[in-house]
């Protein structure tokens, strides 16, 4: 069935059992940035909070409400980016953004994207790409606000509007 391409077990799993959901108070001393993004066409919301310890993303916590794709994407983001060095985190983000912009033509790098590869099918549904990207665009803003450098210019950056 078609929808299985979109709703990979992995995605449904992250949606039904989100990993590390909830905004956490950062340990003192870390530099914190937060961003709240909304998809105006469907009302999906995600808040991402980045707590940076120098170059390391000590914690990436989140909260939100919305469809399975946007919420599972936040859960996967948390899994992938928490504890990473900034450079690697942005590399992962770029990989995810590229996958989403690839209209199903990009072969995902499992090494880099982990559970994120489950979103490969989403790229074939233009209307849902925004859902998948929502937490990533919020992360990007939050990271900047946390003073984490290394953000590379990304084509999809202006796609989703912040608030």
């Amino acid at each position: 069935m078609e929808f299985e391409q979109l709703y990979q077990e992995i995605i449904l799993d992250h949606y039904k059992h989100p990993h590390g959901r909830g905004l956490r108070e950062p340990v003192t001393g870390s530099s914190v940035g937060e961003a709240h993004h909304v998809n105006p066409t469907c009302g999906d919301e995600v808040t991402i909070r980045v707590a940076a310890d120098g170059d390391v993303l000590a914690d990436v916590s989140y909260d939100g409400m919305g469809c399975s794709i946007s919420q599972a994407s936040a859960s996967v983001l948390h899994e992938l980016l928490r504890g990473q060095h900034a450079g690697q985190a942005f590399k992962i983000m770029d990989g995810f953004v590229e996958l989403m912009g690839g209209r199903g033509q990009v072969t995902p790098d499992e090494e880099l994207l982990g559970d994120g590869i489950a979103f490969a099918g989403v790229a074939r549904y233009p209307a849902r790409v925004k859902c998948a990207l929502l937490p990533w665009m919020a992360f990007k803003d939050a990271a900047v606000r946390a003073g984490v450098a290394g953000s590379s210019p990304s084509a999809a950056a202006s796609e989703v509007q912040g608030s």
Partner: protein, 430 residues
């Protein structure tokens, strides 16, 4: 042999219009297509309707044989195009029982029709009965489409007038309790939907138009979801303006209609300036043609008018009463069927009374996007989101809804497919 006598007051057999949905479906080429390997079940007619062969053919025929610009040529092809265009105007006038074809202004969609009235108001000189200023009020409702909200917000910004609105009850009806306070001596215009594009509610008109006219206010009905689905007679409705849109009534995109009482159209200054709307032009100043030409600047949607004329002929041939009846049957069937789906909540009237064949709902614990996506995967096309009526979603405390909307070609089998699809949704997200 027994004869069954139907008690008076009950619908008699003669009251049930003849309507053969399979015959109707055969007129719509797209209904044969598949979506994701399933026969398409198109339940998004409130968004845009499908087009019968008769409309598609009329447009092709026009382009292949009679294409020319209108109202500007003395040549034969131009005369044919002009007659086709003006003929379409006459058909639309008859369809809504306008006093004359001159009361029909062709615009690009219902949204432009509403904006046209709003700009004609702000372009009116202070002495005009249409003029608006600080202290004046415009009344809309909480169940409006954005196209009947934003133009009035912008108008209030331009003029300093105040926007007010009817509330919506839990049952999905306009709350008329405050009618006399809300529509008062300061009110200049009342604009609301004849039929809600989200709840399916058919709104009352006589109490509101009576009160509006009592205080000297004008009434605009957004009939975008009315004219396609129920018989509409402007003489009966008693409104001053009516807006509707071609693509939701079996016609093409690119054309909409503003009907206005002629004496009002005559008082309205132009909005868009350009070719065909003038009487005479000098570099210093211009004078303007009488309505409807005054409001049709530039080359109008000619082929689209031809298509809309064909759509009106098509709908008339089937009969608007029959279409209303068919959709009422469908709504009753669907309300029953959806009632069997666990965790499903209907927004708006839950009985098939005073409502059309548009049903919005929520499914416990599943976001409408996910509902729509799973349904699409089995070929069922519904709309999800705020349906260009965000304030109404806010009213019901939800960010989005799922909407199934029916039309003359919809079948009970398709309603069954929707219900089966929802089972699927519950299985995936259960």
């Amino acid at each position: 042999m027994t004869t069954i006598t139907i008690p008076e007051g009950m619908p008699q057999y003669g009251d049930v219009p003849r309507f053969d949905v399979e015959k109707v479906r055969a007129d719509f080429p797209i209904l044969g297509r598949e979506v994701n390997g399933h026969p398409m079940v198109y339940l998004d007619s409130g968004n845009t309707s499908q087009k019968p062969r008769q409309v598609i053919d009329a447009m092709r025929e026009h382009f292949e044989h009679h294409n020319a610009n209108v109202a500007r040529s003395v040549h034969q092809v131009g005369t044919e195009a002009t007659e086709a265009y003006e003929g379409a105007r006459a058909k639309v006038a008859r369809f809504v029982n306008a006093a004359s074809p001159e009361e029909i202004v062709f615009v690009k969609n219902a949204t432009e029709a509403i904006n046209l009235v709003a700009y004609a108001i702000s372009n009116s000189p202070a002495a005009s009965r249409l003029a608006l200023g600080p202290g004046d009020e415009i009344v809309i409702s909480e169940m409006e489409h954005h196209s009947n909200i934003v133009p009035w917000q912008l108008l209030c910004e331009r003029t300093g007038a105040t926007l007010r609105w009817f509330k919506v009850t839990d049952a999905g009806r306009l709350d008329l309790e405050d009618l006399d306070e809300l529509v008062n001596e300061r009110t200049k215009l009342v604009s609301y939907a004849l039929v809600s594009n989200v709840l399916g509610t058919v709104n009352p008109t006589s109490a509101i138009t009576a009160r509006a006219h009592e205080v000297g206010a004008l009434v605009l009905l957004d009939a975008s979801q009315g004219v396609p689905h129920i018989p509409v007679d402007v003489a009966d409705l008693g409104a001053d303006f009516l807006a509707f849109t071609g693509h939701k009534m079996c016609g093409p995109t690119g054309i909409g209609v503003l009907w206005g009482r002629y004496e009002l159209l005559e008082q309205m200054p132009p909005v868009l300036g350009g070719g065909s709307m003038i009487e005479t032009v000098t570099m210093e100043r211009s004078t303007f043609a009488a309505p409807p030409a005054r409001f049709e600047a530039g080359t109008p949607p000619i082929a689209e008018a031809v298509g809309l004329g064909a759509a009106v002929d098509y709908l008339t041939g089937i009969g608007m009463e029959a279409i209303r009846w068919h959709e009422k049957e469908l709504a009753a069937y669907a309300l029953d069927a959806l009632g069997t789906v666990p965790g499903l909540r209907i927004f708006g009237p839950t009985t098939p009374v005073g409502r059309g064949g548009t049903i919005s709902f929520g499914l416990d614990g599943v976001h409408p996007h996910d509902v729509g996506q799973i349904l699409d995967s089995v070929g069922v096309e519904v709309r999800v989101g705020h349906h260009c009526a965000r304030p109404l979603c806010v009213r019901y405390g939800v960010p989005a809804m799922t909407r199934a909307s029916f039309y003359l070609y919809t079948t009970t089998d398709e309603v069954d497919a929707l219900v089966r699809g929802l089972e699927q949704v519950r299985k995936v997200f259960g």
